[in-house]
C-alpha cells in the first residue's frame, strides 16, 4: 500500500512560480467525483517522488515534476516515442473545494490527488420529523 504523502508544498497567497523553460509534457488525468470529494489521477511515468511538487495558490492546483523523463538517448536510437521533458498540469479549483484538505499519493508512476468538498456543497440528507 502506498503511503500518503502529506508533505505538500503550499504557497497560499502566492502564484506558482513560472516554469523555467524546457519541453513540457501534460500528464493525462482522470477526474472522479465522489460523495465527499474528488479524486484526480495523473499518469506521470518516470517522475521521482521527491521531485514532484503539488501546490495550491489562488484557486489553481499546480502539479509539476521537473525533467522527469530522461534526456538524450545514447547509442543507436531505434525507437524514440517517449516525450522528453518535464510534467506540468494545472487545475482550477472552484468554490466547492476545501483548499486545505488535499492529499497526494505517488506510486508506480501514478499521482493520486484527493480533494475534499467544502461543507457547503456536500450533499446533505434531511430527515423528516
Amino acid at each position: 500500500m502506498s503511503e500518503t504523502n502529506n508533505a505538500l508544498v503550499k504557497h497560499n497567497g502566492e502564484t506558482p512560480a513560472p516554469f523555467d523553460g524546457g519541453p513540457v509534457a501534460v500528464p493525462p488525468a482522470d477526474v472522479l467525483e465522489e460523495n465527499d470529494g474528488y479524486v484526480l489521477t495523473l499518469d506521470m511515468p518516470g517522475a521521482r517522488r521527491g521531485e514532484i511538487s503539488v501546490t495550491v495558490a489562488e484557486g489553481t492546483l499546480a502539479v509539476k515534476a521537473p525533467l522527469a523523463r530522461p534526456g538524450a538517448l545514447d547509442g543507436r536510437v531505434l525507437y524514440r516515442e517517449i516525450v522528453r521533458g518535464s510534467y506540468e498540469r494545472f487545475f482550477t479549483l472552484g468554490e466547492g473545494i476545501d483548499r486545505d484538505g488535499i492529499e497526494a499519493q505517488y506510486d508506480n508512476g501514478v499521482l493520486t490527488l484527493r480533494l475534499r468538498k467544502s461543507e457547503a456543497v456536500k450533499p446533505k440528507e434531511i430527515t423528516i420529523r
Partner: protein, 156 residues
C-alpha cells in the same frame, strides 16, 4: 517571338517521372516499415492501448524503456522467443466503489502488447528487467557472436 512546334509528348514526359519518383518514395516507406531493422509487430487487435517505448542499441546490448504507469509488476509479461521480444500485460482500472461519476477519463486502460524483432541475437538468459516509477527498463545483452569484433588483417 519564334514559333515552336508544340510537342504534346514532350510535356507529358515530365509528368511520369514525377509520379514515378513519388511512387518510389512511397514504396520505400512501405519497405522500411515492414522490413526495417526492427520490425514492430504491435497487434492492433489485442491492444487496447499502446505504451510508448524508447529502444537504443549499444555495442554490447539493447536497452528498451517502456512507459507503463499504474501497471502492476505482476501484470506484465516479458518473453523472448526466436529473436522476438514481446511485452504484454494489462493496466487495470482502479475500482472506486464510492465513485459517483467520472468527469474526465484521459488515461489509457486495458490490455497492451508490443513485439519487436531484434536485429541481432541476444543472450536470453541474461536479460534484465526492472520497473521503477512506472517505467519498465529491459537490458538485453548481445550474444558474443553478434558483438562487433575487430578482425586483424595479416600482412604477408
Amino acid at each position: 517571338m519564334s514559333l515552336v512546334r508544340w510537342n504534346p509528348v514532350r510535356d507529358l514526359s515530365a509528368f511520369p517521372s514525377d509520379v514515378l519518383s513519388m511512387r518510389k518514395e512511397i514504396n520505400r516507406l512501405f519497405d522500411n516499415f515492414f522490413q526495417g531493422d526492427l520490425a514492430d509487430t504491435t497487434s492492433a487487435f489485442t491492444s487496447a492501448w499502446v505504451p510508448a517505448v524508447d529502444i537504443a542499441e549499444h555495442e554490447g546490448d539493447f536497452v528498451v524503456r517502456m512507459e507503463l504507469p499504474g501497471v502492476k509488476k505482476e501484470d506484465v509479461k516479458i518473453t523472448m522467443q526466436e529473436g522476438v521480444l514481446t511485452v504484454k500485460g494489462e493496466k487495470r482500472q482502479e475500482k472506486e466503489s464510492k465513485g459517483l461519476d467520472y468527469h474526465r477519463v484521459e488515461r489509457s486502460y486495458g490490455s497492451f502488447q508490443r513485439s519487436f524483432t531484434l536485429p541481432t541475437a541476444v543472450k536470453s538468459e541474461n536479460i534484465d528487467a526492472s520497473f521503477t516509477d512506472g517505467v519498465l527498463q529491459i537490458a538485453l545483452p548481445k550474444a558474443e557472436e553478434a558483438k562487433p569484433k575487430q578482425i586483424d588483417v595479416r600482412v604477408k
